[in-house]
Amino acid sequence: MKKQKKMSVEKLYRLFIYVALLTLAITIIIPVAWVFIASIKEKSEFYTSPWDMPKGFYFQNFIDAFEKANMGTYMLNSIMVTALAILILLVVALPAAYVLARYTFKGSKILNTLFKAGLFINVNYIVVPIFLMLLDADMVIRGRFGDGFLLDNLFVLALVYASTALPFTIYLLSSYFQTLPSTYEEAAWVDGAGYFKTMYKIMIPMARPSIVAVILFNFLSFWNEYIIALTLIPGPNKTLPVGLMNLMAAQKSATNYGQMYAGMVLVMLPTLILYILVQKKLTQGMALGGSKE
């Protein structure tokens, strides 16, 4: 009798576990899935209950988003900025991380401290000073050459992205370089390879797992970023999240929801696909590398 009672408590507990897990899963899946469903609804369907299923597959929303709301251009801009920023970041951060991890030289301690200190600088505080700096520089350039080009410049935006990601990236890469045995370098030197060749041919290829992690984290943060892009690109050459934000602000007065949800799908889809492909690496990498914020 007593045993039976214990069993039923156990069963109730199991039930509680699954109810709790499912509840959280549903509150995450449903809103995300709903955006996908809403993106193929027709205009009239937004006036009925939001829980109704779409009548058909209204792909026109995506065409409108691309043509009328300019999302196609924004998407290209986003792809360009993200790719360029990751490229700059890797070219700059890899050699620096390698040297900081493997060599001690005059000033290496100061450099290490500087990059560590950079971890505590938050982009949201310094975005306005960066804007003012570029504005001032543009003023000077305009005086000399007739036109400024630092604001509204996607390359500068990518450069700022790469710079703000440097401290965390160097921290992650150099802690990986430290774990590699130094016998490889010694062997390369014995074979007559110079410092540069040793780094590019031997050490950087060995750091591949950490490079993959760096690309993953930074792809997500550059692709999703909007406050720097909003501040530094006041002109029409926007990135996707900023374009989406404008669309959201415009939809509050107009009523063309379809385009807006199509735009949201365009922002979400690449990150979701990437996440599904590499989710294991990402959550493990996070456990290793600590915070990404």
Binding site: V32, W51, N124, T164, T271, E293
Partner: protein, 296 residues
């Protein structure tokens, strides 16, 4: 001799670009924040007047700033408490209990973390919309219209609606963090304690919680920093601080003053105060939560 010159060149070439970018786009702007906070510098006129700590004095009497302070503190407290409880609960369930599809749940719970804040703002605007929103329509299906609210339109509720979105965003991230530190606790501890008749709850409070305590402490600092940052990004994309300043938070007020209003000096003074506040709060919490670190 030649070798050392070569080495020097190598080190110089490798570190200089990174150092230059760091200095130009992070160190100089950070110094600028502190310097500009001492100047009165407004509008498009480019004259800066040194006013010492005057910006901070004005700040002290600025009711809008006080309001953003209250909202930020409220968000930090509410979001941290709810998220921590949920994250610890779900990480315990997923690591301690033999759950079917545990991996599936972990993957799903982490999804909000990879979404852009702009998308999250869009999703929650769709949820909170008073007429065509998911939440109000969901409530009307169950005939509990009395619970229907103007989630973002009501000044009293809006800030809690924002905190709901922040919790939704954060639970999975912290859950994964706690899970990785719970996975390090040796199974033998639990076996030994269950031989002595300890139940789940006893095990949780006398084994799991003390052993992940240090991890929880670290995440408390994350909570302060990330709530201040994410609440700004979310508010900026979702409500713009409205209705009538009821969802204005620290950094959104700073941004409004510095960028939209072009009172650069005053805006930077706000930035300095927020920075010092978050630093002090982290230090205090770090002190309060100090326990002897348990080894295993």
């Amino acid at each position: 001799m030649k070798k050392t010159t070569e080495k020097r060149i190598f080190i110089f070439v490798c570190t200089t670009p990174a150092l230059l970018l760091l200095t130009l786009f992070m160190i100089v702007p950070t110094i600028e924040v502190f310097r500009m906070s001492l100047y009165k510098w407004g509008g498009f006129s480019n004259n800066q007047v040194f006013v010492g700590l005057n910006n901070f004095k004005i700040l002290w009497n600025d009711m809008n700033f006080i309001r953003s302070l209250q909202n930020s503190i409220l968000l930090i407290v509410v979001v941290t408490l709810i998220t921590i409880v949920l994250a610890i609960l779900f990480s315990t369930l997923l690591t301690r209990e033999n759950v079917k599809g545990g991996n599936f749940f972990r993957v799903i719970f982490y999804i909000p973390n990879i979404l852009s804040i702009v998308v999250i703002a869009g999703i929650f605007s769709a949820i909170y919309d008073p007429t065509s929103g998911l939440l109000n329509n969901f409530l009307s299906v169950f005939n509990i219209e009395s619970l229907q609210k103007m989630w973002l339109g009501d000044q009293k509720i809006a800030i809690y609606s924002i905190s709901g979105a922040l919790v939704w965003q954060a639970v999975g991230y912290y859950m994964v963090m706690y899970m990785s530190s719970m996975a390090n606790i040796p199974e033998s501890f639990y076996e030994a304690s269950s031989l002595e008749g300890a139940g789940r709850i006893t095990q949780f409070f006398s084994i799991t919680l003390p052993l992940i305590w240090n991890n929880i402490r670290t995440t408390l600092t994350f909570f302060i920093v990330s709530t201040i940052n994410l609440s700004f990004l979310l508010v900026q994309a979702m409500t713009g601080g409205g209705p009538d300043g009821s969802t204005e938070v620290f950094l959104s007020y700073m941004y409004k003053q510095a960028y939209t209003n072009s009172s650069y000096g005053y805006g930077m003074a706000i930035g300095v105060v927020i920075f010092l506040f978050s630093f002090a709060l982290s230090a205090i919490i770090n002190q309060i939560t100090k326990r002897e670190v348990l080894e295993y």
